[in-house]
């Protein structure tokens, strides 16, 4: 059996038809939008964005996907709707004139209506059918059809008619959104989910620690895979954006391109080339160890390379950072003016973690940076638990790495134990981890820095002294002495001592040289005087010898003379 089935001609299976919503993120979670030509139920409490969600579905359909839509409102009047979405930049009146959208306000006034005997909702069907046919609509929103329950008394008829309505909409081949108010214990107050079995999306608005987060969850999506988590979403000037926050795979591209950290001596510790592009870097350390300075230096260097950078500051205002960094020689203002650097400062308590993540996403989508700095992530802990912060950072890192954006986090560690993990437990997530720590000795405090880890490269294992000067950041080799590692003035003293020692040695060497020279001179002069002495002795000896000769000659002559004289006398 299995053999024959595997040999079947491979027919491409008909894929489940879907209608794109155009809502950022939602189409990714649902794998292409809502089920086409079927009703979808969107339920949630008051003010959780149901109407906005559905109006976006209609407007996007009309504007982006060439699918006109009917918006049948049981709550808001057409004029109110027009005003409400004008703030999002959509002109519903114009769209209505262009026959792309049709708004229909259904008003039910209980006090005007008397019920007697049998009836059905054909009026609604005809009305909706007329609206659909008049513009050739492919999308329909019924917002909120449950209002019928308060307007009409006969629940039996109503339920039967609603069931018929949803079937009829399927036959009409329109993609429908039906909104429903959330009831206690059930998804909707009147159990609409019983009738709509294709797709149910739940919107929620949750407040934890006085911080609100909007969440979206797909409760059910028949015939399709979908993300099952609660996804935070954001409503802002551009409407709804949903964040597919958990990426399911770890399949992002990597590059072996390296980028400088802005601190040449730090680059030298990382094979002389710096960090990998697209990696995540954690700088952790105790208070006042220069984490922000390192981050600013990294950003400064990126901007110098003409790369865009976003700096998320959770602790200081941009002006404060700019001023402070100017004091160590980084002019960040010029990069802001050049449009390369963007600061985004907000208190972590401004909104929930997920909202932070969503707003970070949005900013990154808009600005498309090469580098992102988050300074510091520790403060996020004030709005969430450790595991929440960690899961947020995982998702952020995933997102950034999929876009090849380098990210630097700074984290404050509360104690000085070296092996201590950072509070957020992100150290296992990051690719590189720099640790800046205090080294306290001899009545002073100095900064030491080392590379805890750096994936994929041979990094230095040395502790360097980290010095902040007017001209920027430097790493200095620490001095090893019998007493241990020396930093700060102890290092300087040691350096001085070494200089002195060298001078002394040089001096001693010079003196010996001169001594030898002198000795040589003395000996040489001695040799000269001995030579002189020898010459004078030789002279003396020679003189005696010559005199002897002369005397001998003279005596000879004299004797000959005498002989001659004697002969002459004869």
């Amino acid at each position: 059996m299995s053999l024959t089935s595997s040999q079947k001609p491979t027919q491409p299976l008909p894929s489940f038809p879907k209608a794109l919503t155009g809502i950022i993120g939602l189409d990714e979670i649902t794998g292409g939008g809502l089920p086409k030509d079927r009703p979808t139920l969107i339920c949630g409490g008051t003010g959780c964005g149901k109407t906005l969600f559905s109006i976006e579905f209609i407007v996007h359909g009309a504007v982006m996907y060439d699918e006109p839509g009917v918006f049948m409102s049981f709550e808001e009047k057409a004029e109110e709707l027009v005003l409400n979405v004008a703030s999002l930049g959509y002109d519903l009146n114009q769209l209505q004139q262009d026959k792309l959208i049709r708004l229909d306000h259904v008003r039910i006034e209980r006090s005007e209506i008397e019920e007697t005997g049998e009836y059905d909702l054909d009026g609604l069907f005809i009305r909706l059918g007329h609206a659909i046919d008049s513009i050739g609509a492919k999308r329909v929103v019924l917002d909120t059809i449950e209002n019928l329950f308060s307007g009409l008394l006969d629940q039996g008829i109503l339920r039967a008619e609603l069931r018929r309505l949803f079937e009829w909409l399927k036959v009409k081949k329109v993609t429908t959104i039906i909104t429903g108010e959330r009831g206690g214990g059930t998804l909707t107050r009147h159990g609409l989910e019983e009738y709509i079995s294709d797709c149910v999306i739940l919107l929620d608005h949750r407040v934890t620690n006085q911080i609100s987060t909007r969440l979206l969850r797909i409760v059910k999506y028949r015939g399709s895979v979908h993300g099952t988590n609660e996804y935070p979403f954001l409503i802002d000037r551009s409407g709804i954006s949903v964040l597919p926050v958990t990426s399911l795979t770890l399949t992002h591209d990597v590059t072996s391109e390296r980028i400088s950290s802005g601190i040449p001596s730090l680059d030298k510790m990382l094979e002389g080339k710096g960090f990998f592009r697209g990696s995540s870097i954690l700088v952790s350390g105790t208070a006042g160890t220069g984490k922000t300075s390192i981050a600013a230096s990294f950003a400064h260097e990126a901007c110098n390379r003409k790369e865009r950078c976003i700096y998320f500051a959770f602790e200081e205002s941009p002006q404060q950072i700019i001023r402070n960094m100017r004091s160590i020689g980084f002019d960040l203002q010029q990069h802001i003016d050049a449009g390369l650097l963007k600061f985004h400062a907000s208190r972590p308590t401004l909104n929930g973690l997920e909202m932070h993540l969503v707003s970070i996403h949005k900013l990154i989508e808009d600005f498309d940076p090469h580098l992102v700095v988050l300074d510091p992530i520790t403060n996020l802990i004030t709005v969430g638990t450790v595991s929440e912060v960690k899961s947020m950072l995982i998702r952020l890192i995933d997102f950034l790495q999929s876009r090849q954006i380098t990210v630097m986090f700074t984290a404050l560690s509360l104690n000085t134990i070296v092996s201590e993990q950072t509070d957020e437990g992100v150290s296992s997530l990051v690719d590189a981890w720099l640790l800046v720590r205090d080294i306290e000795s001899n009545g002073e405090r100095n900064r030491g820095m080392y590379v805890m880890k750096s994936r994929g490269m041979k990094h230095s294992n040395q502790v360097r002294e980290f010095v902040i000067t007017d001209g920027g950041l430097h790493l200095v080799d620490v001095f090893l002495s019998p007493e241990g590692v020396l930093t700060g003035s102890a290092r300087e003293a040691q350096q001085l001592q070494e200089v002195t020692g060298k001078a002394l040695r040089d001096y001693a060497l010079n003196r010996k040289d001169r001594e030898i020279e002198r000795k040589r001179l003395v000996l040489e002069s001695k040799i000269a005087s001995l030579k002189e002495e020898f010459e004078s002795v030789q002279d003396e000896l020679n003189k005696a010898y010559v005199e002897e000769e002369l005397r001998k000659d003279v005596l000879e002559k004299n004797r000959e003379q005498l002989i001659k004289n004697r002969h002459n006398e004869q």
Binding site: E114, Y119, D120, L124
Partner: protein, 97 residues
Amino acid sequence: METKEEIWELRLYVAGKTAKSVTALANLKRYCEEHLKGKYVIEVIDLLVQPQLAEGDQILAIPTLVKKVPEPIRKIIGDLSNEEKVLVGLNIRPAKK
């Protein structure tokens, strides 16, 4: 009687010749003949023919009887089988004492 010069303008919305519509129209005619002889106008609107009219009077249910004049506007939905309710709704008879 102050109602002497008033004319009841009644509109009955139907969708085709369904049993409910036919019953409703028959009932309505009967009540009017009985209580409003000579003082009423009935306009039957078939939404299958004129669907665009449904929006104006906020018609959802079929059949719906709309009383425009005299004020206040009232709507009576259903096949009008309950005479008492219809007459109250049309302001012909005051609500039960």
